[in-house]
Symmetry: C3
Subunit: 109 residues, 3 copies
């Protein structure tokens, strides 16, 4: 068994959850925040048998889309820039970031 | 050391937290959502020495109860059913789902 | 690659996030609750290459401060005490509690 931790965009959360339910993939959802853009995103915790990991990754890749988000950059770190000029930056946000963690044991009570 | 990730029902969260505190078991609580029922549940992250894992599992098994929840099923996936008829389904929700994860290192600052 | 799970105090969250962004350290933030004090804290999930773990730990140690919090203890567990006398207790809360977890695989879609 593995524990997949998948950080995805809020816009894809509902669709991915429907697909998981249809496929009998169990998951727990967390409301999280991106460290860089500071906007809300969704993290799924998915405990799954080793031989199903590939299927789950394929579903995530299929239903989670890369998008561009515009952030207003305030030049906090560069003191040569005039602090009066905030400027918009386009940032590409990937469909999903997934960590596959080993699991020593899985219990249900 | 192991990191236990325990998904439990909200109704058992307060009692389990009191028991953990009494036993000196350290934990961090997350407000999470079940992927299937889409209702709120509670996830405890518990870092614990290997030789105490069994005790923690026994406490979880003792204080977390299996319950039945009724969900209204809208026949999203079966197009032969008339979409006008939602019907209630009884779903059994286990007391706890626990993942025991290996930990490479544990630091406190 | 490792996945760091770092539980820190809310007061240090903004500063640590700025430092991570400046250093190009990717992170996802969770709003969590301490099991003992039951007050809100912050958990960062940081996926990082093995050779950068030390740097991340040094930053956490540098920017996360130990503080004292006062909790009102109601003598729930000791029935010899008169339940009418709640008393304040000073509790030392560490800057950070960090679990370093092994990662089998890391995917971006
Ligand atoms: N210091 C920096 N300098 C320049 N650009 C930066 C940057 N940090 C992040 N970005 C860019 O901003 C996007 C959003 O990052 P955010 O941290 O809000 O939201 C992230 C974060 O919540 C999570 N994530 C990504 N990598 C992670 C990691 N190694 N550990 C933990 N969480 C991660 O997945 C979300 C999407 O990440 P993704 O890489 O697709 O997309 C990232 C990346 O393209
Ligand atoms: N492998 C796993 N990985 C990550 N998290 C996991 C997990 N297995 C369980 N969980 C978490 O534990 C909660 C209770 O699961 P349980 O299997 O006892 O109780 C489940 C199960 O009896 C049933 N169920 C879940 N998915 C189903 C499906 N696709 N088809 C039929 N019944 C399902 O509905 C109950 C509530 O499920 P819900 O998803 O709302 O809430 C789940 C979910 O948050
Ligand atoms: N092994 C572990 N597994 C998972 N999460 C962990 C953990 N160790 C610490 N944490 C997380 O880090 C926070 C700070 O813990 P710390 O040990 O520095 O500071 C602790 C400690 O000094 C004290 N404390 C905790 N439990 C205690 C107990 N049962 N008896 C006496 N003092 C306790 O109260 C402070 C605040 O604890 P709180 O639970 O509210 O908040 C904890 C908890 O959210």
């Amino acid at each position: 068994m593995k524990l997949l931790i998948a950080v995805i965009q809020n816009e894809d959360s509902k669709k991915l959850q429907e697909v998981f339910n249809k496929e009998g993939i169990r998951a727990t959802k967390l409301a999280t925040t991106g460290g860089f853009l500071r906007s809300g995103n969704t993290t799924f915790m998915i405990g799954i048998d080793d031989d199903k990991v590939e299927d789950v990754l394929n579903l995530i890749a299929k239903y989670c889309k890369t998008r561009t988000q515009t952030m207003i950059s305030s030049p906090t770190y560069d003191f040569n820039l005039d602090a009066g000029f905030d400027y918009p930056i386009d940032v590409e946000v990937g469909g999903a970031t997934v960590f596959i963690l080993p699991v020593d044991a899985f219990k249900k009570f």
